[in-house]
């Protein structure tokens, strides 16, 4: 049986890992290479590396850092930020990424998903969606949460799957960095609309939040950043809690 994954996320800007609350007030949380190695050693099932300034500042992802991170980890590495073409993706794969995440660029040009999927396979094509609740439902945001779109997150997830995405990295902007638990309603709606793995992101504050996530939704993975950077909750304690709740995990 497939294990539920615990994913450690590195949001990188100007070469440092940063973390904010609701996508703003970024704090410096450390060196990406050191943190990636620590999380890989501590039993993270996957590492996600997001160059959060890349789309906004229109500069290429920091290939050098990606490569240094990739050399240190022997678990899958997903990389996102500034991927606009198969050429950009190829550079990331050559630097050691196992999957690429696309967000803003897929919204502005949805064919990018099918291009990536044909060139590298659905298993290497991750659609990242940043969603925020509004009176009209879940609205998709781009440019690192700076710009609202007219897209509904549930519809966009389904369209992304149909275009060739093999996984969805779903972040609730409302809960991101708040540490009061995942946005289970959003996760359930996206899982219900798709048949590809969904990584839930935004809101993890304790081991119990991961238990809730996997008991109450069909999410394949739960992602966290700040609780790992600040050592407030360890990967092994999350896995122990999941094990006690009879949720299948790879032992840390």
């Amino acid at each position: 049986m497939l294990a539920k994954r615990i994913v450690a996320c590195l949001d990188v800007a100007e070469g440092r890992v940063v973390k904010g609350t609701n996508f703003v007030n970024l704090r410096n949380s450390g060196d990406p290479v050191e943190l990636a190695k620590r999380y890989s050693d501590e039993g993270a099932d996957e590492i996600v590396f997001l160059d959060i300034g890349a789309s906004h500042e229109s500069r290429p992802t920091l290939l050098g850092i990606v490569s240094k991170v990739a050399r240190q980890v022997f678990v899958p590495l997903s990389v996102g930020g500034g991927v606009r073409s198969t050429y950009d993706a190829r550079l990331l794969f050559n630097a050691g990424a196992d999957k690429v995440c696309v967000n803003s660029s897929a919204v502005s040009r949805p064919e990018l998903l099918s291009e990536l999927s044909s060139a590298f396979g659905a298993q290497a094509t991750v659609l990242a969606i940043d969603a925020k609740q509004s009176a009209d439902g879940w609205v998709v945001y781009v440019m690192g949460g700076r710009e609202a779109t007219r897209l509904n997150a549930i519809d966009w997830a389904r369209a992304g799957q149909d275009a060739g995405a093999g996984e969805i990295l779903l972040t609730s902007m409302d809960t991101d960095g708040v540490r009061q638990g995942f946005e289970l309603g959003l996760v359930n709606e996206v899982c219900g609309a798709t048949n590809i793995p969904v990584i839930a992101s935004g809101g993890a504050g304790s081991a119990g939040h991961f238990v809730d996530l996997f008991m109450k939704t069909e999410a394949s993975a739960g992602l966290a950043a700040s609780i790992f950077h600040e050592r407030s909750t360890s990967i092994s304690s999350i896995k122990e809690a999941l094990c006690s709740a009879n949720i299948m995990v790879r032992p840390a």
Partner: protein, 209 residues
Amino acid sequence: MLDRLEIEGPTSFDKGAALIALIDYGAGNLFSVSNGLEAIGAQFHLVRHPSEMGPDDAILLPGVGHFGQMMRALDDLDFRAPLIAAAGAGRPLLGICLGMQALFEWSDEAPGTPGLGLLPGTARLLPDTCRLPHMGWNRVSFVGASSEWFYFANSYALPKNDATWGTTNYGGEFSSAVRKDNLWGFQFHPEKSGPAGLELLARWCFDAC
């Protein structure tokens, strides 16, 4: 458990002095496999054309993506006949992920496009009652040994067959590791499966080199 293998660095693999030819047909992602081989101290070189393969090299065929594209890329670079000949001559050959599927005859992912046909069988789509791709860590139960966790990223897989060495369950059992004479195949990614994966990779290298 698998027979535990002590990993001692490069000297572990010096006995046969065989190199590993890591096949680079342009479509695969070689960074992770190279990084894994470096980590266990294996001696390897990248091979972009059959003429670059040494006569005694062990062969590692990685693969991600689409079966049809992989076979076309191998054919375009004239790898098909030399790989079949090397396998027939008893040279160690390991296929990883799509590289394992390529050892077999066919895949439903690209009907009509033949694999290398070194082992009989056809890769089938995993049950679509499960979320696909089958992505993440799953258990491999090895014949005559207990199970270990490895990382998978596949939608197609080989049913159980005569060469099956390990099986995995995802909406049903499939063949996640094969081993027959000089041919080994892993549907999962040992290079992305932490210490257990590196140990298994080292075990092949030790056996092959």
